[in-house]
Symmetry: C2
Subunit: 190 residues, 2 copies
DNA sequence: CAAAATTATGAATAAATATTCATAATTCTA
DNA sequence: TAGAATTATGAATATTTATTCATAATTTTG
């Protein structure tokens, strides 16, 4: 794909994300997306067959990009350090990509989602489960049902990221990261 | 309001919630709501001026009903008991009313929401804050920023309820309630 | 540089969906 | 129980929004 085409696609995708943040998926109009992207409505149809394809392409791209990148490089570290690094990265990503999360959560139960996009991302959870198992075997982590531990970790980090975005204007301090992780670690450590 | 009218309204609201669970707010069509409620499309317009009013009325009702009812009766109990009771009730309500949560979350950033409905429910958070403050003053709760504690509690309970609904078919055992609360309490207690 | 190919435009058209309304059924009232 | 009032119906109409397409601008090719 040419660079100019990539750029144009990003322009469209960014506009769609911004709009979703304002009016949700139910408020997305092709004309509004075009306007937000500063192009003509017809131009959208050069890049996508229709609205459904546009939204699915965006969702597919976001899902691809949301895979945790660092995982391999940290697996030799102590469990609590691994978890801290993950916590930090997850929190930063969630804060930075708030609009992406909003879009994905709404898209999943919209009428636009295609079957091929329905297989929900389970990768991150699986990875967490793996770390938790290791931690349990080393007696570092409470012997509690993984589902409960995972709910605490993911629920907390997500909710905290929303709080940072909405009530702290997106500003995430090191102190906040450390304070929240410390609470999380205290909850699950043995 | 007559009983038959109330009943009809509930019929419409229930249908709307069920549909939202299937196709999201973006997929809500007046004709589909009517069909789901087993009435004619035109009948909807006897009860509501238009779609926007219908959705706002539903949101308003849900928000009113989501206020925690037990609050007054437990304020004399020990902090951890108060929190346990709240945890249990919140979890049960979230599991039972999963569709309501989905609707409310989507509605908040839809183009339908009216200004008067925009003042988001902050009641529950305020109540939690109050308990936490009391707990801190009694040295029972960690001296950590309230926002962080609240994120943990609310994020955890919400995420866990979603897990129960999606992966455990909505079955919430006493054991799950106790296990999850125990984790939560361990995280925040001093 | 000229012709061909690609990309862009936005008004015109098609399609989807909200809303109305003439008519019918049902429920009140006296 | 007859007539008035209310509630229900769904096809017809209005409105909104997606999509197309004739035309123009831009970029590529040779």
């Amino acid at each position: 794909m040419s660079d100019s085409k990539k750029e144009r696609l990003n322009q469209i995708f960014d506009a769609t994300l911004r709009l979703t943040g304002k009016v949700g998926i139910s408020g997305l109009k092709m004309s509004a997306i075009a306007k937000e992207a500063s192009i003509a409505t017809g131009t959208l149809y050069i890049y996508f067959k229709n609205k459904e394809e546009l939204l699915n392409a965006l969702y597919f791209k976001l899902q691809k990009e949301s895979a945790p990148a660092i995982i391999n490089e940290i697996s030799h570290l102590a469990i609590n350090i691994q978890l801290y690094k993950m916590w930090k990265i997850a929190l930063e990503q969630l804060v930075d990509n708030n609009l992406r999360i909003v879009f994905m959560e709404q898209f999943i139960i919209s009428p636009y989602i295609s079957n091929s996009n329905k297989k929900i991302d389970i990768g991150f959870k699986n990875y967490l489960k793996q770390i938790l198992e290791q931690g349990k075997s080393e007696n570092l982590i409470k012997d509690v049902n993984n589902d409960v531990l995972i709910s605490l970790i993911i629920g907390f980090v997500r909710n905290f990221s929303v709080h940072i975005v909405n009530d702290r204007n997106g500003y995430l301090s090191e102190k906040s990261i450390d304070e929240s992780f410390s609470l999380c670690w205290n909850a699950i450590k043995n």
